[in-house]
């Protein structure tokens, strides 16, 4: 699996780590049962703080893509699918945009609801 981050980008580094792992799941480079590198090792490789990597891993756990077990490290969960990773990644981008624009939670949810009800016009990018 390839994990790239860009410290110059606006997105927090932990989110970038999570996004990179999601991409690997979406492309099939990572599958259920695969073990992610230890957060400490990944932090050294990417020259970031270990808490940054752990924050990324926690995001992925909250999305149900990986399981974090004490002593066993991070393992891609059986339920993790390419579709799930793609949706989680798109959601991540939406949330990042909403934060940048300073939108309230209710407004974001309303926008999503409206978009969902709208008839499909173009295939998603």
């Amino acid at each position: 699996m390839l994990i790239g981050i860009d410290p110059a980008a606006q997105v927090p580094l932990g989110d970038q780590v999570a996004a990179a792992v999601r991409r690997n799941i979406a492309t099939g480079a990572l599958g259920p049962g695969d073990r992610l590198p230890a957060a400490r090792d990944l932090a050294v490789s990417l020259d970031v703080n270990v808490h940054t990597v752990l924050r990324g891993y926690q995001l992925l756990r909250d999305e149900g893509l990986i399981e974090l077990r004490r002593g066993r490290g991070a393992v891609v969960s059986a339920a993790a699918t390419a579709d799930g990773a793609e949706l989680a990644e798109a959601t991540g981008r939406l949330v990042a945009a909403a934060r940048r624009l300073g939108l309230a939670e209710a407004d974001v949810l309303e926008t999503v609801r409206l978009a969902l009800r709208r008839p499909t016009t173009a295939p998603p990018g």
Partner: protein, 315 residues
């Protein structure tokens, strides 16, 4: 390298020479001869004279010295290979010193040796000697600072897209399935023997299974520090190549048969970590040697290594 060859060739001579010397120095203190073989039941089942014991030790030592010298000749262009060779030579020399030393001590001033039990610590001492000797050989075989290159990888070598200032790592685990199956099967046999025959009966199988376990899977990582290969279960030993030594990274297919089997193989200028046949990350190094690591998705790894190597040389 100047020190590696004397260490590799000298270790078996030194070890067996010391054993022969000890046997001859104590020649009057072995009234029942010297134990020369221990049977599977832990009982001494063969005895020899002091002179034969010393002569056999010296013959084995001389034979090994010649053998190691010939192997060293064939891998002389490969610093890693010479170092692995030195570790193997000193490790086996330590076993050749420790095993016979225990036998000598056992036979010292004993009226009868044949059929007597060998000390229970014979096996632990030999295993410990192998480990300590290998480490010592590895440490003694200080190779000269490996050659580095300042040239960026050739333009036709694959690259990945990475924004300026971006950081990236590629990592993947390789599993040697036959070894994994073997280790699990051995552990099962060990447990079954312990449960049915006697508690101690399964110990050898369990020990071998435990020793095999770390060799069943390795993690390959490519990042700004270079390429490293280590067992997933233990952090050391590891094979590490800094980016500054990499002329070019690529992907190639290797057959384990070509390189003489699985494991850490050294063949001519090639060093290989083979857990299976097939796709491998192929690093051309500045000293003319090559490091091959069998791993899936090696093309991505190679592209990242080229990208990071180029970047490290531009700035």
């Amino acid at each position: 390298m100047q020190r590696t060859l004397p260490v590799t060739v000298g270790a078996p001579l030194l070890a067996t020479g010391a054993v022969a010397l000890a046997a001859l120095a104590w020649r009057d203190r072995f009234p029942a001869g010297v134990a020369s073989h221990v049977g599977p039941g832990g009982l001494v089942d063969d005895v020899t004279t002091t002179g034969t014991f010393a002569a056999t030790a010296l013959t084995i030592g001389a034979g090994l010295a010649v053998l190691w010298g010939l192997v060293a000749r064939s891998v002389r262009s490969n610093p890693t290979g010479l170092r692995v060779l030195a570790a193997a030579s000193v490790g086996s020399a330590a076993v050749l010193a420790a095993g016979p030393a225990v036998l000598l001590v056992t036979s010292l001033d004993r009226g009868s040796v044949l059929g007597e039990p060998a000390p229970a610590w014979l096996l632990p001492v030999v295993v410990l000697a192998l480990a300590a000797g290998s480490l010592l050989g590895w440490a003694l075989a200080r190779v000269p600072a490996p050659a580095e290159t300042r040239q960026p990888p050739p333009p036709d070598a694959p690259r990945v897209e990475l924004p300026a200032g971006g950081r990236a790592v590629w990592t993947r685990v390789v599993v040697a399935r036959p070894v994994l199956v073997g280790a699990v099967a051995l552990a099962a046999v060990g447990v079954a023997l312990s449960a049915t025959v006697s508690p101690g009966a399964g110990v050898p199988a369990l020990v071998v299974a435990a020793l095999l376990a770390p060799t069943t899977s390795v993690r390959v990582t490519a990042d700004h520090a270079g390429v490293s290969v280590r067992a997933t279960l233990v952090p050391r030993p590891r094979v590490h190549v800094p980016l500054s030594r990499v002329v070019r990274a690529g992907r190639s297919d290797v057959r384990a048969r070509e390189l003489g089997g699985w494991g850490l193989r050294v063949r001519g200028e090639r060093t290989a970590v083979l857990l299976r046949s097939g796709e491998a990350l192929d690093l051309e190094l500045a000293d003319g040697s090559r490091l091959l690591v069998t791993v899936d998705d090696a093309a991505t790894a190679a592209a990242l290594v080229n990208t990071l190597a180029e970047r490290s040389r531009v700035c």
